[in-house]
Amino acid sequence: MSSSTTPECNCRITLDFDILRQSQVFAGAPAEVVKLFAYLSRHRTYQPGASILLQGDKAENCYLIISGEVDIITRHRDQEIVVQRLRPGSFFGELALLARFDWFFSARATQETEILIISREGFEKVLSKYPEKRDKITEKVIQLRISRFENQTANLLDRLLEAGLSADSGPLIG
């Protein structure tokens, strides 16, 4: 990283700048934009078992795991199903940056977990200053969502197969 793109202050932004710079969504975005996101993001530490977000609540933030581990859980027919387990460097809740909705899953820390939080409000305020960057970042968010979807589907199918469902026992969704 060249010195001209790094914030040259003695601030905590530097650390988060580097983290965001290497993340899936913000890689390739101009330094000044990433710097603002780094400035507006905040850290929060969760204890093992602590709930990070709850299915049904209003989605306001996007989360990036810095350390620890997070379970993504869906409630279905009054049963909790872990659909994915995420490790440091992963985003979740990134759709909250683009739209208002209620969470369709819950997230819970499985161990002591540190998370970087970006709010939709901050995201929108920054991009209203740099409207020409919006398309690129939106595209990245959607790509991330697609890979997450593929991943979760594969994960579920694996488990179905392991549970004894053979490939020729008919369509899963019908």
């Binding site: 914030p7 202050c9 003695n10 601030c11 905590r12 932004i13 710097k35 603002l36 400035y39 507006l40 905040r42 929060r44 530490t45 969760y46 204890q47 409000e121 901050g122 305020k125 200053k129």
Partner: protein
């Protein structure tokens, strides 16, 4: 209705307000005016005498005498004029008070439909700015024309007395003006009326945009709104342009006529004087009189303009509210009714605009104390029916009665005394929770219907009944309790602090930063980190910077240069990162600088860079010092300080506590510190000047909220702490015997403007409690529990089913079908008609519409 006038307020003329009110003061004013006339004419006579007698005859004594008399008369005339002006304004304001009160009273009692179609902006501007303009006119409405007319006569008379011929000639110009000016004025009035209408439309537009700001911003409707306003602005411009042209046209014609007078005077008067038929003294007096005669004339013209203006405004205000209230407030010949609550509807219908039928043929009979649920799809008319029973709308067909008295024939007080109404979106008034809970009862008490307001135990009981207890505790926790109220409870609060500290420290370690004299506080300002105290104005630093002992301390310990440098660095990084975001406060959450300070800090940094920071003036240095002392590492992401710096601050803090405040650190931490002196400083600040109150374990922090005091630290994640702590605190307060005191504190919580600090559920619970406290024989609930969580709904339903059974007639519009089983009677509605009516079990057995609704939901 006014004691002066029985005509409806909106039908009265503007002058009826003046003629019928404050007659004594107005007569006195007239008397003073007449007296003042003499003192206005008298100086003219003196002028004549000074020239003709004193100067001509060279009599010094007479000169002194006449000059003295002249001055005295001028002085008295001036003083009287001063009195007349002020007294007139006072009378005007008095009339205005009555006008405003009566109009407001009238407006509040207008039918609901009026408020649906009238913009709030219209009502507000009518009652404020527009009435004010009329008030200016009112006071002088009688006095000014009378004064001006009499003054005119007096001066004109004096002129004729001096020389009848010349006097009459100089009067001849006035009749011309009497024709021209009113013509112009008439045109002016017509345009002025449009101006009022356009201005009002503009107020409505702005009001609408600000009420609907969500829609505007969500749809980026900025241009749309701007275009709408632009159109009006453009029209207003054209109107104002024409008004100015006319106004100054009137002025021009006045001036022209005014200068015609002296022209004639000099021509004819000069001729007469040369021929010795007129003395110089008389000519001078004549000139003065002519100049003076113009003043009352001008006043009459201005009065005429003001009158037209006020009349236009007055008519427009009164026309806007020209509606009759539907119901009397109280019956003149009897006390408000006391009803049992037997409600009967026979073929009730409700039609609006003569065509749209919202309710049709509704019939039911409800005995006192029984409970009825209204159910049906939205738009079925169930809510409308509840509003008819509450007399908020008036049914148009059939008979709707309580205890066989037609509801449309009852007065507002009859209804208020006997019916409690809770709407789906209750309105919360700006004020405390207690004010809101007592709203209905206070209104009844003022009308003389209720003797005593519910007392505190009643309120606390009701809080528990509607499930508000935890909320009230939460509000209590957020309150900074006034010292006198907190002092007697401090021991118990401190005991709770001990309990929280021993039981919750571990659980809260990630969401609360506990105060500890040995640790750096990431979520407190550097000012608090250094002093480990609360001080006047904390966490703001103006007071701290001005505190001598503190200043001496940072200077003596070589902290000042470091803090100044820190302040400069923070200013620099903030400027670099946020210079483009000056208009958005949001971006400044991570810096101790305020957005509006940015420009001045840019200049300051420049100055410091060129001169050197030590060379700056004290007040400039203080601004860098303020940034440094406000800096809160955990919150202000813009900057960070090293571990070594933090350790240094903690070391300095300990030195400060020991050397400046004289505190033993061990005692402070262990909670055995003598705290009387700090408590005394709060209780009697005039005798004990204490600037710093240290964060010692045994010290109650009077400038902090109860929550901060019990937690004894800074809450980092409010949501977690609030949800965990409120139920726990409820139990702890109970154990400590503090529950009632904290309830009292919570009840005094200020709900914010229109209750914006409350959640939808809290508002509904308060509204239900308010209604129940009135203890009326009839309770109407219009989906009153819709925004509550399941538990709260069930709790309130349970209370209604058990506590109000047989005592209160309940009519509830229900959206949850699983809660209707406890009702005696169910009315199923569809498209404005009753489609099923009967008991729950009976209807379920019939397997009709109710059965279907229940099983499909």
């Amino acid at each position: 209705m006014s004691k002066f006038d029985t005509t409806p307020i909106t039908k009265r003329t503007l002058f009826s307000w003046i003629i019928n009110r404050f007659r004594g003061p107005q007569l006195m004013l007239l008397g003073v005016i007449i007296v003042s006339l003499f003192f206005r004419v008298y100086p003219l006579e003196m002028q004549r005498k000074i020239i003709n007698e004193a100067i001509n005859l060279k009599e010094i004594d007479l000169l002194f005498l006449y000059c003295g008399l002249y001055m005295a008369a001028v002085l008295v005339a001036g003083l009287l004029k001063y009195f007349i002006n002020s007294y007139q304004a006072i009378i005007g304001q008095k009339i205005l008070i009555e006008m405003r009160q009566e109009l407001y009273n009238h407006i509040l009692r207008l039918p609901l439909q009026f408020f649906h179609r009238t913009q709030t902006g219209t009502i507000i501007s009518a009652l404020t700015a527009e009435l004010n303009a009329i008030g200016m006119f009112l006071g002088g409405a009688l006095a000014i024309p009378v004064t001006s007319f009499l003054t005119f006569l007096a001066f004109a008379g004096y002129m004729i007395y001096l020389n009848p011929f010349l006097g009459l000639i100089s009067m001849t110009v006035y009749p011309f003006e009497l024709v021209v000016v009113p013509l112009l004025q008439k045109r002016y009035n017509a345009i002025n009326r449009t101006r009022v209408t356009v201005t009002r439309a503009m107020a409505n537009l702005v009001n609408e945009a600000s009420s609907g700001i969500h829609e505007v911003q969500a749809n980026a409707g900025f241009d749309l709104e701007k275009t709408r306003l632009d159109r009006l602005v453009e029209r207003l411009y054209i109107i104002m342009r024409r008004l100015s042209i006319l106004k100054y046209g009137i002025k021009f014609s006045n001036n022209l006529f005014q200068s015609l007078g002296p022209f004639l005077l000099f021509l004819i008067g000069g001729y007469l004087a040369i021929n010795g038929q007129f003395t110089i003294g008389a000519l001078v007096a004549f000139l003065s009189a002519y100049e003076k005669v113009y003043d009352p004339w001008k006043e009459i013209i201005e009065y005429y303009q003001d009158y037209q203006d006020a009349e236009v405004r007055y008519r427009q205000i009164m026309e806007a509210f020209d509606l009759e209230p539907e119901y009397l407030l109280a019956a003149p010949d009897r006390k408000p009714l006391t009803l049992k609550g037997h409600i009967e509807a026979r073929n009730v219908g409700y039609t609006i605009d003569n065509t749209t039928r919202l309710l049709d043929e509704v019939t039911f009979d409800l005995t006192p104390g029984s409970h009825m649920a209204l159910i049906g799809f939205s738009g079925s008319g169930k809510s409308t029916l509840s509003l008819l029973i509450g007399q908020l709308y008036s049914h148009t067909q059939g008979v709707l009665s309580v205890d066989n008295i037609e509801i449309n024939e009852m007065t507002k007080l009859d209804i208020a005394k006997n019916i409690s109404f809770v709407s789906q979106h209750p309105f919360i008034f700006t004020g405390t929770v207690r004010d809101n809970l007592l709203y209905s009862c206070s209104a009844l008490q003022r009308s003389g219907v209720l003797d005593e307001l519910p007392d505190s135990p009643d309120l606390i009981n009701m809080i528990a009944n509607v499930g508000l207890a935890e909320d009230v505790i939460r509000w209590g926790l957020r309150t900074v309790i006034p010292p006198r109220q907190a002092y007697p409870l401090v021991d118990k609060f401190l005991r709770m602090r001990d309990i929280v500290s021993s039981e919750l420290r571990r659980q809260f370690s990630h969401v609360v930063e506990f105060y500890d004299a040995n640790l750096f506080l990431e979520y407190s300002t550097l000012g608090i980190n250094l002093t480990f105290s609360s001080y006047p104005g904390s966490p703001h630093v103006e007071g701290l910077i001005g505190n001598e002992p503190f200043r001496a301390f940072i200077k003596d310990n070589a902290l000042l240069p470091w803090l100044l440098e820190l302040g400069r660095s923070i200013a620099k990084t903030t400027i670099t990162l946020l210079a483009d975001f000056q208009n958005d406060e949001f971006f400044f959450q991570g810096s101790p600088m305020e957005p509006d300070q940015l420009d001045s800090y840019i200049a300051l940094v420049k100055k410091a860079d060129s001169k050197g920071i030590e060379q700056l003036k004290d007040q400039d240095q203080d601004r860098f010092l303020a940034l440094a002392l406000l800096f809160t590492p955990g919150q202000h992401k813009i900057y960070t300080i090293s571990r070594a710096d933090k350790d240094r601050i903690v070391a300095m803090r300990q030195k400060f506590l020991q050397n400046v405040l004289g505190i033993d650190l061990e005692q402070c931490r262990n909670g055995v510190l003598q705290r009387t002196i700090y408590d005394m400083a709060q209780m009697a600040p005039e005798r004990h000047a204490i600037f710093f109150t240290p964060f010692c374990a045994s010290q109650y922090l009077y400038s902090h909220s109860l929550l901060d005091n019990i937690i004894f630290g800074t809450v980092i994640e409010k949501d977690v702490v609030q949800s965990t702590l409120a139920p726990l605190a409820l139990q702890l307060f109970k154990d400590q015997g503090l529950l009632d005191e904290v309830f009292e504190i919570g009840l005094d919580f200020h709900v914010g403007s229109k209750g914006d600090k409350l959640s939808g559920g809290q508002k509904q619970k308060i509204a239900i409690a308010t209604a129940l406290l009135k203890n009326a024989p009839i309770l109407i609930l219009d989906e009153a529990t819709a925004s509550l969580d399941n538990n709260s709904q069930a709790r309130i339903q349970q209370y209604i089913n058990t506590q109000l059974r047989k005592t209160t007639t309940v009519i509830a519009v229900m959206h949850r079908l699983d809660m209707i089983a406890g009702y005696d009677h169910i009315l199923v509605m569809k498209a404005g008609k009753v489609v099923e009516s009967g008991g729950y079990t009976e209807l379920m057995k019939e397997r009709g519409i109710l059965y279907e609704l229940v099983n499909n939901s």
